[in-house]
Symmetry: C2
Subunit: 121 residues, 2 copies
DNA sequence: ATCGTGTTCAACCGATCGGTTGAACACGAG
DNA sequence: CTCGTGTTCAACCGATCGGTTGAACACGAT
C-alpha cells in the first residue's frame, strides 16, 4: 500500500483533475468545497483526490474551525525534478555523444573517449 | 483511451519498474529480453510496460532482424519539466510573497487567477 | 522446410482507481 | 441544544492495471 514516494507523486499527478487542483492551489489555499466547484463531481470525490495528493506530500491540510484548508507544498516537486533532470541530462548527453562519435568516425584520428555511466538500483 | 499526453507520461513513470527501465535505457538501447533480465517477471509483462512507455512517447522501438531495440526519447521529459517548473516556481514565489503580505497585512485584495484548465473528462 | 529465438497477441485474474450514494462526524450560529 | 455547513467514512460499481499463461507471429540459422 505504501508505495515509494516518487511513485506516489507521479501517480498523483497522472490525473488531470488532480493536476488542475494543484494548478489552482498555486493561487492560494482553498477548502474542499472551493476546489470542488469547477468539476461537476461530488465533494467526496474531491476529498479522495485530496487524500491522494496529501499522501504524495503535495499538499497539507490545515484547520480553521470546521474547514480544512488545503495548502500546496512546493518541496515535493524537487523530488521529481531531480529524478527527471538526472535521466534527461544523461539521455541528452548520450545523444550528443553520438554526434561526437560520428564526427570521430569521419576524422578517424585517434580515440580518447571515456564513456561512463552510472547505474543505481 | 487516449489520455492527454501529460497524464500518460506521469502515469508511465508512476511505476517503479518502468522508471527503472527508463534509467537503464539511459545507458543505451536494449531489447525486451535484456530489459526483462533483472525483474523476475515474464517477458510479456515487460512488453506491456514498454507499450505504456511507448504510448507516453518516452521510448521508441527500432527494428533489427527479429529484435525490436528500445530507444529512450529525452524530448518528452521537457513536457513534464515545463509543467512542474511552472507550478513549483509559482508556489515558491507565493511562499516568499507571504513575508511581504504579512508585513502589509491589511490590504489583501485579490486580482489575478492564472490557472489553465482543459479537459474535465 | 524446419527449428529456435525474440516478441507480441489474447484471455483471464485479483487489486486498485475514480466515481457514486448514504450515513456520520466536527463545529459555529441561532 | 438544535440546526446547518463542511468534511469524511463506508460500501459499492465499472474500468483499468500489473501480472499470469498459452498460443501465435517474425525472422535468422541450419
Amino acid at each position: 500500500m505504501t508505495a515509494d514516494p516518487l511513485s506516489q507523486v507521479f501517480a498523483a499527478l497522472a490525473d488531470p483533475t488532480r493536476r488542475d487542483m494543484v494548478a489552482r492551489l498555486c493561487a492560494g489555499d482553498a477548502t474542499v468545497g472551493e476546489l470542488a466547484a469547477p468539476y461537476d463531481v461530488s465533494l467526496q470525490a474531491v476529498s479522495k483526490h485530496l487524500k491522494v495528493l496529501e499522501g504524495a506530500g503535495l499538499v497539507t491540510r490545515g484547520r480553521d474551525a470546521q474547514r480544512r484548508p488545503v495548502h500546496l507544498e512546493a518541496e515535493v516537486f524537487d523530488l521529481m525534478t531531480k529524478w527527471i533532470e538526472r535521466y534527461r541530462r544523461e539521455a541528452e548527453a548520450r545523444y550528443q555523444r553520438l554526434d561526437a562519435v560520428l564526427a570521430e568516425l569521419n576524422d578517424e584520428t585517434d580515440g580518447n573517449d571515456r564513456s561512463e555511466q552510472g547505474e543505481t538500483a
